[in-house]
């Protein structure tokens, strides 16, 4: 798991510029013997297993992460930028970034009276260029960057940028690796694009796949730190979380009930997640076409959208166990279309 997460978090892939991470995922899939992966027009990566096509679960983890895009190269060589996805401006000054070509930059800030008034427009990226001309030889307007934050392991904890949602991608890859060849229903694993800017990849791919059920695998915030910023019952290390709701979806009660039942039968530790803010691909999947009963399996994660995102190894492993057990359970068995 550590080696896989190291590779996945090192790959480049802000929302809308996922070529790097997609290529890595394709290699990882090939190494698992998966040769039939498909890439759609928006860049979603799809791996399908099993039959029949009309009884299919869509399992989604997003490959994109938050990032930064250059909007202006100033005469003095400093770069102005816009955030890609939800980033807290106060966490940024002094942060190291890396561009696709490998160039390193650091975020600096202009003088402001009150630190609480900090805005993105008062920040800039310094790539060490002495002039705009020099900067233009290295980067262009429209180029993107991500946190320069390689993975570190401390005991059972992994720390890295982009664990949101490379942790989910890793969970899917590990599950695929161990998935038996016969399944009670078909499943499509999708590594989606542009989640961080509005669940855009998931919306498109759900239309294409037209599944009977949906399941998003993503990280969720925890409330287990001193005076936590967000009120949530989830802790690190106490098992994967079964989402009840966030701002994008109220998970289908039958799906959450199924998830709880399977976790309890298999003695897999789990937590219940109720999140007052944030969204996941489940938000887009469940509104596709005429509606899709959808749930979400969440990996507890501290310091989301910073260079220091932190997840727990046992949560990841229990997440794999739960997903594996879920996919080997008949979803349609206990209930049909009617309420």
């Amino acid at each position: 798991m550590k080696e896989l997460l190291t590779r996945l978090t090192a790959a480049f892939g802000p929302a809308g510029r996922e070529e790097g991470i997609r290529a890595l995922l394709q290699r990882e899939l090939e190494n698992l013997g998966e040769s039939g992966a498909v890439v759609d027009d928006l860049g979603n990566l799809i791996v399908s297993r099993g039959e029949p096509a009309d009884r299919r679960i869509l399992v989604a983890a997003h490959m994109d992460g938050i990032g930064f895009m250059i909007t202006c190269i100033e005469e003095n060589g400093f770069l102005r930028f816009t955030p890609i996805g939800g980033i807290q401006v106060h966490s940024l000054p002094g942060t190291r970034l890396r561009f696709r070509g490998g160039i390193t930059g650091v975020i600096g800030q202009e003088k402001i009276k009150e630190q609480k008034d900090l805005e993105f427009s008062r920040l800039y990226i310094d790539i060490g260029a002495a002039s705009g001309k020099e900067a233009e030889q290295q980067v262009q307007i429209g180029d993107t960057a991500v946190f320069n934050a390689p993975l570190a392991a401390e005991g059972d904890r992994f720390i890295a940028g982009a664990l949101d949602d490379r942790a989910g991608c890793a969970l899917l890859l590990e599950t695929l690796k161990r998935l038996p060849s016969t399944l009670p229903q078909a499943v499509s694993f999708v590594f989606t694009v542009q989640e961080e800017v509005g669940l855009r990849g998931a919306q498109a791919v759900s239309y294409r796949i037209n599944p009977q059920f949906g399941l998003a695998v993503d990280v969720t915030r925890t409330g287990d730190t001193p005076e936590p910023q967000f009120k949530t019952p989830v802790s690190l290390g106490k098992g994967p979380a079964i989402k009840i709701k966030d701002n994008s979806v109220i998970c289908h009660p039958r799906v959450t009930a199924l998830m709880r039942r399977v976790a309890e039968e298999k003695n897999i530790p789990y937590q219940i997640e109720v999140l007052e803010q944030g969204g996941t691909d489940a938000g887009a999947i469940h509104l596709s076409r005429t509606g899709v009963p959808t749930g979400a399996l969440s990996i507890p994660c501290r310091y989301i959208h910073t260079p220091g995102e932190m997840v727990d190894r046992t949560d990841m492993e229990n997440g794999v166990s739960l997903l594996l057990a879920l996919l080997q359970t008949e979803w349609n068995g206990s209930w049909g279309r009617s309420w």
């Binding site: 809308g16 027009d41 928006l42 909007t71 100033e74 816009t82 307007i141 855009r200």
Partner: protein, 339 residues
């Protein structure tokens, strides 16, 4: 070149009929097959509608921001709502036209002599403003206008040096560009859609893209130019005279990398100046089109425009012509070799 006629026609979101009729007459006269849908989008099928689905879609919205009559006061004054994003500061003293009979009116407010100091220090809000049509009382006013009537600016469009000023250039400049392009000969078919209700949430484009299910889309727009003396370069968004602007990302879409690359290639091959839109807020039809069905690779190209959404918006004619040349090249390139 239709810029003047199109600019002067009233066509607030939801009331695009007169703009649609103008365009429809031209299409009929040129023998271009066309059709209108339930919401009022007008589809122009260049070289016929056969094979139009799954091809190349161009889009420009017909609607403009404006007002709507919300109540008639006893005194005969009209109260109004805003339709779309209008800056209240620009409303006072503006001549307007109301309803299908284009009844003239003027927007009034309490005279400066009577305003308290605090009132003078901030712009007047909509509920402190009214439209005066010269009626003696409510009954008199009700003979000419009714609640729900749309209100648009009365503003003459005219050349201004090498520039062009008028109301609603966002996005009649885009409509005019598509009309010019539709008159040219092309070696294949594409669909140009004149969409409705962009300014209030890209509603027309959403259904148009669903209907056409295109493989590639280019939205032809008009965007902010804030190239004014007191605005720093990084905050100018676009600059008049530097060519059409390509959107990198905004709140609704990250331009598909292949579309962006093709736009840049076309502009470079034809020696046309271009710029990137240096601001990533706001939305356009690009967002709605890119998310239709299973996703559409979509780009947005814009004519830079000062004083957008006002009665005297201003574009550089050279930018507008250059935009047409890039769009022309893009169409030919996509028809020749796909995206």
């Amino acid at each position: 070149m239709f810029l003047k006629e199109l600019s002067e026609l009233p066509g607030v979101s939801g009331d695009e009929g007169r703009v649609r009729e103008f365009i429809r007459e031209k299409l009929s006269a040129w023998g271009i097959e066309h059709d209108c849908d339930t919401l009022g989008n007008l589809y122009a099928f260049k070289n016929g509608s056969k094979g139009a689905e799954g091809g190349l879609m161009l889009a420009a919205h017909m609607d403009e921001v404006g007002l709507m009559v919300s109540a008639i006061e006893k005194s005969g004054h009209l109260r109004f709502y805003k339709v779309g994003g209008i800056d209240e500061q620009i409303l006072v003293s503006r001549p307007v036209r109301i309803g299908s009979n284009a009844i003239p009116g003027v927007i009034g407010a309490k005279a400066i002599h009577l305003q308290k100091k605090a009132e003078r220090e901030k712009p007047l809000e909509v509920d402190k403003l009214y439209i005066d049509i010269g009626a003696r009382d409510k009954d008199d006013a009700a003979k000419a206008v009714k609640i729900g009537d749309y209100v648009s600016f009365a503003a003459e469009a005219a050349a201004l040096g090498g520039s062009f000023k008028g109301k609603a250039l966002d996005n009649r400049a885009g409509c005019a560009a598509l009309l010019e392009i539709l008159q040219r000969d092309f070696p294949g078919s594409f669909v140009a859609v004149f969409t409705v209700q962009e300014e209030i949430g890209c509603r027309g484009a959403k259904v148009a893209a669903y209907r056409l299910n295109p493989r590639t889309a280019l939205v032809v727009e008009t965007t902010i130019a804030a190239d004014l003396p007191e605005v720093r370069e990084k905050d100018q968004v676009t600059v008049l005279g530097k060519g059409p602007a390509f959107t990198l990302q905004d709140d609704s879409v990250i331009t598909h990398p292949r579309v962006l690359e093709r736009l840049v290639t076309v502009a470079q091959e034809r020696g046309i100046p271009y710029q990137f839109r240096g601001y990533t807020g706001n939305f356009t039809d690009g967002g709605a089109v890119s998310r239709a069905r299973d996703g559409v690779p979509t780009g947005v190209i814009s004519t830079p425009c000062r004083y957008l959404h006002g009665p005297a918006s201003l574009i550089c004619l050279e930018d507008w012509r250059n935009l047409m040349e890039v769009v022309d090249g893009f169409i030919r390139s996509v028809l020749a070799k796909g995206l």
